[in-house]
């Protein structure tokens, strides 16, 4: 298995599928501590990514991610649009125009994505945002790439699992950024929708490689 543009397109396709499937669930998460739109926004955004991918055939994984970034930026709106847009843009930049992604490069792309989100949103780990999924994911990917050597699937899996655990770990947190922060203590006991969608995205990356 190599992470080439075919994988990238499959990944994004699976992302779109996951958002459609989990649309209601993400809306419900956002309903509890936000404004009930996260699932709708992500679904709309990734459907638009599918349309774009059908029009333009990107030649590298980086190009696919850049196109995704631009599309999410212009179709998602809300907080998630610019944040995911930045994440994919930074990841694309990190990957450059290489045709295949090595494990270390993937870990680097995730770190760049995470840093982009932090740069734009100013959230810290523990603020109950998508950062709480991206941070452990980037960390786990780096560790797996360092230890696990060339097996890229291991790295993808490590990132996905860490993101999922990170999303679950937002449950007991009190939100300090984003719309959920208005709720103060009432945000405790609910999962952050953006962390949940991050976990879906990184799980789709595994699926595309399987």
């Amino acid at each position: 298995m190599v992470l080439d543009v075919v994988w990238a397109v499959k990944w994004l396709t699976l992302c779109a599928q996951a958002m459609a499937e989990h649309r209601v669930e993400l809306i419900e998460l956002d309903r509890a501590i936000g404004d009930s739109d996260h699932g709708e926004n992500m679904d709309r955004g990734f459907q638009a990514v599918l349309d774009k991918l059908a029009e333009a055939a990107p030649e590298t994984p980086g190009a696919a991610l850049k196109l995704t970034a631009m599309t999410l930026m212009s179709k998602v709106g809300g907080a998630a649009g610019p944040l995911y847009g930045t994440a994919f843009l930074r990841a694309a930049a990190a990957l450059g125009d290489s045709a295949e992604i090595e494990p270390a490069a993937w870990a680097g792309a995730l770190a760049a994505a995470r840093d982009g989100i932090v740069a734009r949103g100013k959230a810290e780990p523990g603020d109950k945002t998508m950062v709480d999924a991206w941070t452990p994911a980037a960390e786990a990917a780096r560790a797996a790439a360092e230890n696990g050597g060339p097996d890229v699937l291991t790295v993808l899996v490590a990132a996905a699992e860490a993101a999922e655990a990170g999303a679950v770990a937002t449950d007991p947190l009190m939100a300090r950024k984003g719309r959920a922060s208005y709720l103060g203590e009432r945000s405790i006991g609910h999962r952050d929708p953006g962390a949940a969608s991050t976990a879906l995205i990184l799980r789709a990356a595994v699926g595309a490689a399987a």
Binding site: I27, R31, I33, G34, D35, S36, D37, E40, N41, R44, M73, S74, K75, V76, G77, G78, A79, A80, G81, P82, L83, R120, G121, M174, R176, K177, G178, R179, S181, Y182, L183, G184, R186
Partner: protein, 333 residues
């Protein structure tokens, strides 16, 4: 929850089309991307005013496009801030060369999307100044929140900054006036019931028959806390006191009192709230010089209201009184 819509995904598009048809003499509706501009935009030498945000707050913002107020409104999906690819062309369309003010309600999404659009507009040679509205006293502005939200005060910023632009103020001055309004207005809201976002299909929160949410925003999110139902006078006191405390309203202060409906509360009830609010202000020795009562910044069909108080000075009063001709606010013309 039944709604007068065709398809949850076409709500904004069709509603904006209807708005354009109903107010064809006043506005131009652009589609793909969607934004609404004042018919005469760009107005020669005038600073352009652009605002926007999620849909579902109507008449905000499209209803405030026109002479003496906004030059463009940029509607996002329901409760979802618009995207830079909408905000940028709207900004370019209303730039006469005098620069453009973005009036942005303080929500992460709105801030980020307008920020990007402003950067892109600057890159195209348009000077952009952003006025951030954050009048909601229910939210503490601290390290532990995304900061105070922009709510009812937004209308007042748009009207008064719009009048400043119309009289020929330059970019800095229009933005400065907008910031002065924001610094002198406080708002707090209550929900008696939740609203239902069309694509979500179920109410944004569940509230018992004898509970209300205090300190709500305008996106159907729950408020700061939930209390047992009270009567209108009690609720009015609960909303107004924190606003007056925040603004440090003193005897002799002149104020504008704005009772805003969340969409599903009868106008008659808003006047009952206004009545008590006016009494409280009178008791405090404040002088209500101007007032506004109605559904202006809504959260779909939510039941409830917000109370905004703006401390006036002679210039703000004059700008408030200046002619305005929009779909939802009109006088002097």
């Amino acid at each position: 929850m039944k709604k007068l819509i065709n398809d949850p995904r076409s709500v904004v598009e069709e509603s904006v089309q209807g708005f354009g048809l109903a107010h064809a003499g006043l506005v131009t509706v652009s589609t793909d991307p969607t934004f609404i501009t004042r018919k005469e935009a760009p107005v020669n030498r005038k600073v352009g005013l652009v605002s926007g945000g999620g849909s579902g707050h109507e008449p905000l913002h499209a209803g405030f496009v026109g002479q003496g107020m906004l030059d463009a409104a940029v509607p996002g999906a329901v409760f979802t801030s618009p995207t830079p690819d909408q905000i940028l062309p709207a900004t370019l369309a209303v730039n006469s060369g005098a620069g453009v003010v973005h009036i942005v309600k303080n929500y992460t999404g709105d801030v980020l999307n307008f920020e990007t659009a402003a950067e892109l507009a600057e890159a195209e040679g348009v000077s952009v100044r952003t006025v951030l509205v954050n009048d909601d006293v229910a939210v503490e502005d601290s390290l532990y929140t995304a900061g105070r939200r922009g709510v009812g005060g937004t209308l007042l910023v748009e009207k008064i900054a719009g009048a400043a632009a119309e009289r020929g103020d330059d970019l800095e001055s229009v933005a400065g006036i907008g910031e002065r309004v924001n610094a002198n207005v406080g708002t707090m809201g209550v929900a008696l019931s939740a609203c239902t976002v069309p694509h979500a299909g179920s109410p944004s929160f569940d509230l018992g028959e004898d509970e209300i949410e205090i300190g709500i925003g305008i996106h159907g999110e729950p408020g700061r806390h939930r209390i047992p139902m009270e009567n209108a006078d009690g609720i009015t006191e609960r909303l107004l006191e924190p606003v007056l405390g925040d603004l440090k309203v003193q005897p002799g202060d002149k104020v504008l009192l704005f009772v805003n409906g969340m969409g599903g509360t009868p106008l008659s009830e808003l006047y009952i709230v206004y009545r008590r609010a006016a009494q409280i202000l009178a008791d405090r020795g404040a002088v209500v010089e101007r007032s506004l009562v109605g559904n202006y910044i809504t959260a779909l069909e939510m039941q409830g209201c917000s109370i905004s108080v703006l401390r006036l000075d002679d210039e703000l009063t004059e700008l408030w009184d200046a002619p305005v001709h929009t779909a939802a606010l009109r006088w002097g013309v």
